[in-house]
């Protein structure tokens, strides 16, 4: 009896072991096949004849995609991609964008794309637009992508990033997908120059002169802050501030409490949610709650509502967020400085 039980246990353990090995091997294979690094396989040379450059292979988050010819009908399906695409190609080539890109609260290109159809994630609606290529984020449903690929539509998923170097890589990749390498290079140089200008101001400052900044928003009484590896956190540091949440060991966008704010004691607070969607009442609450009155940012009346679209979108428009925050952090150096937006392709 004991022996049978032991054998049963042994066979169960053996099965579990095999299952573990099988799942490990499967996950490695899946990872290798579906999550490769995003790289451009072909170094496109704009000087060469276009016929020599197409077709080209692009490696995205969803694997290698072959683009037969320069795409004339582009669908961009995330706000970050929409903002980059508008800066890289004439609007006539854009057949659909994300719905939220038409909302000026969350998009820097709302006015430009207001007449362009918006796209959802339904393959049939996408097919109806007859696109040459669809560019989207890794969050686009895998089954929709699979159906579109089956219908010979090129779908490329690329990672969006808040880091300026990665954003420049993304612009180069999109430039390669659209056959607009020269424009991508120009845009990258413009972004780099603006970023370096802010860095030249903040890098000179003594560390002790740097102010601690906390990015906050409040949804249904839950207070959200941005630690390290978050878009807002990156903007704070790029503007020459110290991210209070990251200093307290927080990573990503996480919930905190009023007491958490007291312990982080920031010199200034930026409110990244729109004023009319909870931002105004949250600022009022911060200012009137007696327990918070000793927080330096509140004591010195340094709570700043900022434009949501500059601080949360994953595109090069974050540079504008960096510039705006730098103006708050370094008023003596940037007082008379005005910063412009970025031009769309068509106005050049």
């Amino acid at each position: 009896m004991v022996k049978i039980r032991f054998q049963r246990k042994k066979s169960v353990l053996l099965s579990l072991g095999l299952l573990l090995i099988l799942s490990t091997v499967t996950s490695i294979v899946i990872q290798d096949n579906f999550f490769p690094e995003t790289v451009v396989q072909e170094n496109a040379d704009p000087e060469k004849e276009k016929s020599e450059l197409w077709p080209r292979n692009i490696t995205g988050f969803n694997g290698i995609t072959t683009i037969e010819r320069k795409p004339r009908r582009i669908i961009s399906a995330s706000v970050g991609h929409d903002e980059m695409t508008v800066a890289l190609v004439p609007l006539e080539r854009l057949v659909a964008v994300t719905k939220i890109s038409k909302d000026p609260l969350y998009s820097n290109i709302a006015e430009l794309v207001k007449d362009i159809p918006s796209v959802d994630r339904d393959p049939e609606n996408i097919i109806a637009l007859n696109p040459d290529v669809i560019v989207t984020s890794p969050y686009f449903p895998a089954d929709s992508i699979s159906k579109l690929v089956d219908l010979n539509i090129s779908v490329i998923q690329t990672n969006l990033a808040s880091n300026i170097d990665n954003q420049i890589d993304q612009i180069a990749l999109l430039g390669s997908i659209y056959g607009e390498e020269v424009r991508a290079l120009q845009l990258s140089q413009q972004i780099r120059a603006r970023f370096d200008f802010i860095q030249s101001i903040s890098v000179d400052a003594e560390y002790t002169n740097k102010q601690s900044v906390l990015a906050l928003s409040q949804y249904s009484d839950q207070i959200w802050t941005a630690g390290s590896n978050s878009t807002e956190g990156y903007i704070i540091e790029a503007a020459g501030g110290i991210n209070s949440a990251a200093q307290s060991g927080l990573e990503g966008n996480v919930t905190t409490s009023f007491e958490g704010l007291i312990s982080m004691a920031p010199d200034l607070i930026i409110i990244t949610q729109p004023l009319k969607f909870g931002g105004a009442s949250f600022i009022e609450e911060l200012k009137t709650k007696p327990a918070l009155k000793e927080i330096p940012a509140i004591k010195n009346n340094r709570i700043y509502p900022v434009e949501t679209k500059l601080f949360t979108t994953l595109s090069f428009w974050n540079i504008r967020g960096i510039e705006e925050l730098a103006k708050i952090l370094w008023p003596d150096k940037l007082e008379n400085q005005s910063f412009d937006g970025f031009d769309p392709f068509t106005t050049r």
Binding site: Q222, F258, E259, G260, S263, G278, A291
Partner: protein
């Protein structure tokens, strides 16, 4: 093994001794957990200061505490703890009452659509943007939603002076599904991402940023409701066996049963209005206590009130302290600690399980 031995030794005690032992044990645990909850937070406050503040909550500053420490304790930690205690108490007593009335161990306050009604009320307030004009519109609408759901469900189940339990149950399921669909449609059709976040985070439930106003909304009525249910706990014992037995022993079933349902709806609606939907408390607390003390509701009702309060307080301590100064949702913790502990008790006490 040891726990099982204690439970079997405990079940041999008289009812009166069991009431005293269990109540004292749970009260001690609740008091200890409240003291820990007051002491734990991103800002370090020593225990002498806490005691000084608790003994003189209106003294702004003293040798033992600063004004900031006093404000942190009285304005931030205490209201949150009290709301947590109240919500735990309300949800677990409502869960226990539902399980007895429906003679179904899986019954919980959500079964007759009260939670879904509360959620829909909150979603309406958020979608219309009422919270920007009136700070407590969300809890108020959540409560009104719960109340509306209860009224609709009762009106279906009540005819010719009698309440039909199967109709009540089915109407509850239908109303829950209907309200949940409206909530889903509202989220999907919502164009503004900030409103979507407001709705989703409210539905996730939590005790973040609770104030004395939340205490005022929920605590008095939940306490009164719990006391009334406790007062009629003998009737709950009889109703959990059968209607015929209840009637033969003098219980006015046609009056008492709707009364219990109204009360448990009220408790749930109030709890949902100040905390969103915190899952598992109403289901697990009565079960755990039933496994330990048996099926007598005279004992179970007060113990569920204290046990639910203790459970939510402990869950909130963990939610606040695991990754501070960040926080987790209290509902995540109630599920994470509640479910495994419940399974552990089930395995350990297979022979002692009391059910309907």
């Amino acid at each position: 093994m040891i726990l099982g031995k204690y439970i079997s030794r405990y079940s041999n005690l008289t009812l009166s001794t069991r009431i005293h032992v269990s109540t004292l044990s749970l009260i001690s645990l609740l008091v200890a957990s409240v003291l820990v909850a007051i002491s734990v937070g991103p800002v370090k406050i020593n225990f002498t200061s806490i005691l000084s503040i608790l003994s003189n909550p209106f003294v702004h500053e003293s040798i033992s505490h600063t004004e900031l420490e006093r404000l942190i304790i009285t304005d931030l930690r205490l209201p949150r703890i009290i709301v947590g205690i109240t919500v735990g108490m309300g949800l677990s007593v409502a869960g226990l009452t539902m399980q007895a009335l429906f003679r179904n161990p899986m019954a919980d306050p959500g079964i007759i659509g009260v939670s879904a009604g509360g959620s829909l009320g909150a979603v309406v307030a958020i979608t219309v943007g009422l919270e920007h004009y009136f700070l407590f519109s969300v809890p108020l609408f959540a409560f009104l939603g719960s109340l509306t759901a209860s009224i609709i469900v009762y009106s279906f189940a009540y005819s010719n002076g009698r309440l039909s339990m199967p109709t009540l149950l089915l109407a509850g399921v239908a109303i829950s599904a209907f309200f949940s669909s409206i909530i889903s449609a509202t989220i999907v059709l919502q164009e503004n991402p900030d409103s979507v976040r407001q709705i989703l985070f409210w539905l996730a439930g939590g005790l973040d940023s609770r104030s004395w106003n939340h205490v005022l909304i929920a605590t008095p009525l939940i306490t009164i409701g719990t006391i009334i249910i406790s007062f009629f706990s003998r009737d709950l014992n009889l109703l959990s066996i059968s209607d015929d037995d209840s009637k033969s022993l003098g219980v006015n079933v046609d009056l008492v049963r709707p009364g219990f349902i109204v009360l448990s709806s009220l408790l749930t609606g109030l709890a949902v209005s100040v905390s969103g939907t915190i899952i598992f408390v109403g289901l697990i607390t009565p079960h755990i206590l039933r496994l330990i003390v048996g099926p007598d509701h005279r004992l179970l009702v007060p113990l569920c009130a204290i046990g639910g309060a203790f459970f939510v307080t402990i869950a909130d301590i963990l939610a606040r302290s695991i990754i501070q100064p960040a926080e987790l949702q209290v509902g995540i913790i109630t599920s994470l600690i509640g479910a495994p502990f419940f399974l552990f008790l089930l395995i350990k006490n297979k022979k002692n399980i009391h059910s309907y």
